[in-house]
Structure formats: C-alpha cells, structure tokens
C-alpha cells in the first residue's frame, strides 16, 4: 500500500510490515499483516482500530520489541533492530503503555522514576516536579508512590516519565484511555505540544477517534493487521470512506444530552490466525459485494473495492 506522502523526510518508515506471534502447538497469529505507515519529525499520526487489530504489536515492533517476519522498519534512516541484537536500548523512541502498572515501579517514588529519564537525556535543568506540573499534577506528588494515585493520575505520571527522556519519537499506546474527559483532551494536547515543540514525532494509538481527531495531523485506521484507510485527519473525520471507518465514527456517543444509544457494529474482530478470505472486513461489512469475498483489496489509501485507485 502506498502511504500518503509526508511533507518532510520520514522519521519513521514502516513498509509492508508483517509480524507473527508464534505459540507452540497453535497456528501462528499474523497480528500485523502487511502494514505501511510514515511518521515525520514533528508530525502527529493517530493509529486507531478495535482491540486485537494489531496496534500494540505494530508499536512494539517499532520499538524493536517484536519478531518481524517480513517488511521493514526504519527509524532516522536506520533499520530498527530487534532488542536482542543491539547493545543498548535506543532511547530515541519512548513508549507510554496502555497500563501504567506495567511501566511504573510500585516500590519507588515517582519523582525518582522521572529523574531516571531526565538523566538519560542529560537534562539537568528540569526537575521531576516540573514534569509533574506539565502533566497537570501537583509538584509535591513527586514524593509519592504509584499506589497513592488514582488510575488517571498514575497514567499522567507514566507520561511524565516518558517525556523526561526527550524522545525523538514518542509512542503512546492507549495512553489516555484511563483519564477523565477533560484530562484526555488536555493530556493528548500536551503530548502533541511537547512532541511538536521538540521536533519529535508522535504515534498516538487509541481506539477513540474523537481524541485522535483533536491532535493528529494524519490518521491511520487499522483493521485485522492492515491499515485500511489513511488520510488527513479532518478529511477522514468529515468524509470517512472505508465502511469500517464509517462504523467506528458512528459508534462514538455524542455528549449532546439526548439519550441516543450509539450504533453497534455486529460481530467481533475475527481471529487473525484465520482471517476471512478476500476483504478482511467482509463478514461485518454492510456494503459487502460478491467480489469482496474473494479478492483482497490490498491497496491504499482506502483498502476497499468501492475506492479502488484509478
């Protein structure tokens, strides 16, 4: 699939990436099945899609944390090597995970954990308390341990810690799902501002298009291991083209006070170990045609037979 050109040379280039998870005695799971993506310096790219579609697997591969079966990943022009083959962890990429419990040490004060990141970046001017302030927490929280925070507060701490290392690419894997509505927007904007300000790229993963819309320059929609639609955020939002993108948008409940239940998309994401033939979305697509059951629309920017490039 040809990704949309970015205005600047890519910081991160992912091409036809295939990542398979192998579990002994089970068919291998092709979690990422030929995905291409670009992130430029200072650019914010939103990656959206249902749980299990392969977002985290893709993000982990970008960090050198995954077994790449085919395709390539380059960061600043250099191929990304799996972690085992490198001497040091590249600190140019920092990730904020879905679950703050996995990334924060429960036994250390959060201020000390943030200080580690500052040391990595050789930053002597910023204090952990400064970073806490930037993510909207009181400065004196630096002395507390992770369990003394509410869920949302803890995720802000994890973000502060990732930012401390001054990454050139920041990846947030559902970093704001646990925050309240006002904080979601604030923290998403904050992540955007800090990335853009420092010239870093931001790959922002979320299942919530409404937040991605707020901060992403471009959005990539993933379904069952593939990027099915990519485009400028405001265009995708105003005029989604892939039927799956349309379904995602229709499922967002609006805070208009009217008591309207959002539209359901029937069925679950199919098992990536046994993806449907033809278009991967066809069993759930309201617009399915005969052709869709047999032929795979393996093209971009919209992988759907209704939007075949001329």
């Amino acid at each position: 699939m040809t990704p949309l050109p970015t205005t600047t040379a890519p910081l991160l280039a992912v091409d036809d990436l295939v990542v398979e998870h192998r579990t002994p005695g089970r068919p291998s799971v092709r979690a990422v099945a030929g995905a291409s993506l670009r992130v430029g310096p200072g650019e914010v790219v939103g990656l959206v899609g249902e749980s299990g579609c392969g977002k985290s697997t893709l993000a982990r591969a970008v960090c050198g944390l995954g077994p790449v079966s085919a395709g390539s990943i380059t960061f600043e022009g250099e191929p990304v090597m799996p972690l085992g083959l490198r001497k040091r962890r590249h600190t140019g990429v920092q990730m904020v995970f879905q679950d703050p419990y996995t990334s924060l040490n429960p036994r250390r004060r959060v201020g000390d954990q943030i200080a580690d990141g500052l040391r990595t970046a050789g930053d002597t001017a910023t204090s952990p308390a400064d970073l806490l302030e930037r993510v909207g927490l009181p400065r004196e929280f630096a002395g507390r341990h992770p369990h003394e925070f509410s869920g949302g507060q803890r995720q802000r701490v994890a973000i502060a810690r990732a930012l401390a290392a001054r990454p050139r690419l920041l990846i947030g894997d559902e970093p704001i799902s646990a925050l309240d509505a006002s904080a979601q927007a604030q923290v998403a904007r904050l992540m955007r501002d800090l990335a853009v300000e420092s010239g870093a790229g931001l790959l922002f993963i979320s299942h919530d298009l409404s937040v991605v819309r707020l901060i992403a320059d471009r959005v990539a929609v993933m379904y069952l291991g593939r990027i099915v639609e990519v485009g400028r955020t405001e265009e995708v939002w105003a005029e989604p083209r892939h039927p799956y993108t349309k379904a995602l948008l229709a499922a967002i409940p609006h805070p208009d006070g009217m008591g309207v239940l959002p539209a359901e998309l029937p069925g679950d994401v199919p098992d990536p170990a046994a993806p449907p033939a033809g278009c991967r979305f066809h069993p759930r697509c309201p617009l399915v045609m005969d052709r869709c059951r047999e032929e795979d629309p393996a093209f971009g920017p919209v992988a759907c037979w209704l939007h075949e490039p001329k």
Binding site: S150, G152, D180, D256, G257
Partner: protein, 258 residues
C-alpha cells in the same frame, strides 16, 4: 422511590478527606451517571457502597438500602448485601472475573452461595443469564474460561456474574472505558436494556460524557470529593449550572461541533 440513598458521605484515607459529604439517590429502573475529573472520588463513592474502601479509611454519613445503613452493618451482613442486593462491575473485567474458574462456575457459585440454589437450578439460570447478556452459544460458553473470550464478551460475562443474584443496585465503575467504541455501543445497549427490563438502579461511573449522554437518566458531577451538580441528563449536559460542569463540556474534543 429510592433504591439507594447516600447522604453526607465522608471518607478519610490516611488523614486525607477524599469524600467531603456526598449526596446521591439511586432509583429503580434508572441509570444515575457519575462524572467528574480523575481523583474526584467517583470510585471511592462506589467502593464505600460496597464496603470495599481501602484499609485504614474512615467513612461517616449514611448509605441507606431498604431501611438499613450499610455503613453501620456488621461485616457478615454487609457480605450478604454485596454480591446479593448490591452488585458491581469494574473497568477491567479481569477484576471481576477469576481467571482459573470456568464462566459457569463463577456464575453458579454466586447463586448457590447467595440464593441457596441447587446445582441444576443454578446451571439453568446461568445459561439463561449468558443468553441475556448475548453471549453466543451459552451452553458451550458455560464451560469456557474468561481468557477464551474477547474483551467485550468478558465484560458482558462480568455483567452476567453481577446480575446472578438479582441485585437491586448495580455499581458500574467505568464499565466500557477499556472497550472499543464499537464494542462499547453493544455493552451500553445491554446495560440500558437490563436496567429497563429488571428495574435495576444503576450507578454508572464514567468520565465519558458521551457515554453519560447515551444511557444516564440522571447525572451528577463530582469535584474534589463533592457533588457539585446533579439533575436530569438533558439539563446537566445542555444547560449546566456549575462552572465546573461547563468547563468539562467545553473541554470536550467535539465541543466546537455541538
């Protein structure tokens, strides 16, 4: 009619006042939404009702359920209420479901313990409940383990477990926050349907005002351990009185398009 009445609830944890006098009333067949910023005390309010506050916390005020005050109930009595008349669903279905027990076992254990049902009876009711929360192939699902289901299905199963003993009150703390919007839509429809059909009084804790708008009848907004605004959904979301509620609505991603 009031199913659950929380009055002047104050909670202190390690010398800090996390709830400073919360008043909330839940009615049967109604979803009462509880919104508010992170750390405002939404979860602590739910936990207080369930008698599950962290160790070393002190609660005062009253939580009335059918003529009793849950705050003064002996632990044994409270245990009966929890999982019986009052049930709960959390953000992460893993919190509500035991990973090593089959779905059927988790459903029937509750019923046999709280309702004193026999084995066959409990099984029949469990299969019926799985059908009610729309788990396909209920008979077969009964024998499977939680990890064999998707996140959305696990949350439906957690809801089935919560409903096992025909509760009057359901506390749902961010029940759809960990789910995809597409899956969330299904769970919200389910919650709304169950509330209408079974006359449940639901306390729905959510930071998502879209979710609130879709299913809540009444909306309360918390800030710093206090309820700052409370009223019918349309009123609170369309003509909010408190500046804090207004700021919450204005900060929404799609505030400008409304």
């Amino acid at each position: 009619m009031t199913a659950l009445d929380i009055a002047g609830l104050k909670v202190t944890i390690a010398g800090r006042d996390v709830l400073r006098g919360v008043d909330l009333r839940l009615e049967p067949g109604k979803v009462h939404g509880l919104a508010g910023e992170s750390g405002s005390g939404k979860t602590m309010t739910g936990l207080a009702v369930l008698g599950l506050l962290p160790h070393g916390s002190r609660a005062t005020g009253a939580i009335r359920l059918g003529g009793r005050d849950l705050l003064t109930l002996p632990p044994k009595e409270l245990n009966k209420v929890r999982g019986g008349e009052v049930a709960m669903v959390f953000q992460d279905p893993a919190t509500s479901l035991h990973p090593m027990l089959t779905v059927g076992r988790q459903l029937t254990e509750h019923m046999r313990h709280h309702l004193g049902l026999g084995k066959a009876e409990a099984r029949a009711r469990a299969v019926e409940l799985l059908g009610k929360v729309r788990i396909p192939g209920a008979e077969e699902a009964y024998r499977r383990y939680p990890h064999q289901f998707s996140g959305g299905m696990r949350q439906r199963i957690a809801i089935a477990v919560a409903l096992a003993c025909s509760p009057k009150v359901l506390i749902a703390d961010e029940p759809t926050t960990a789910l995809d919007v597409t899956v969330q839509a299904g769970v919200l429809r389910l919650l709304r349907g169950l509330c209408d059909e079974l006359g449940l009084a639901v306390l729905l804790v959510t930071h998502d005002l879209g979710v609130m708008s879709a299913v809540a009848d009444e909306v309360s907004v918390m800030k710093d351990g206090l309820v700052v605004e409370s009223g019918p959904r349309v009123q609170v979301l369309r003509t909010p009185e408190h500046p804090y509620t207004r700021s919450l609505l204005e900060s929404l991603p799609d505030a400008e398009v409304r």
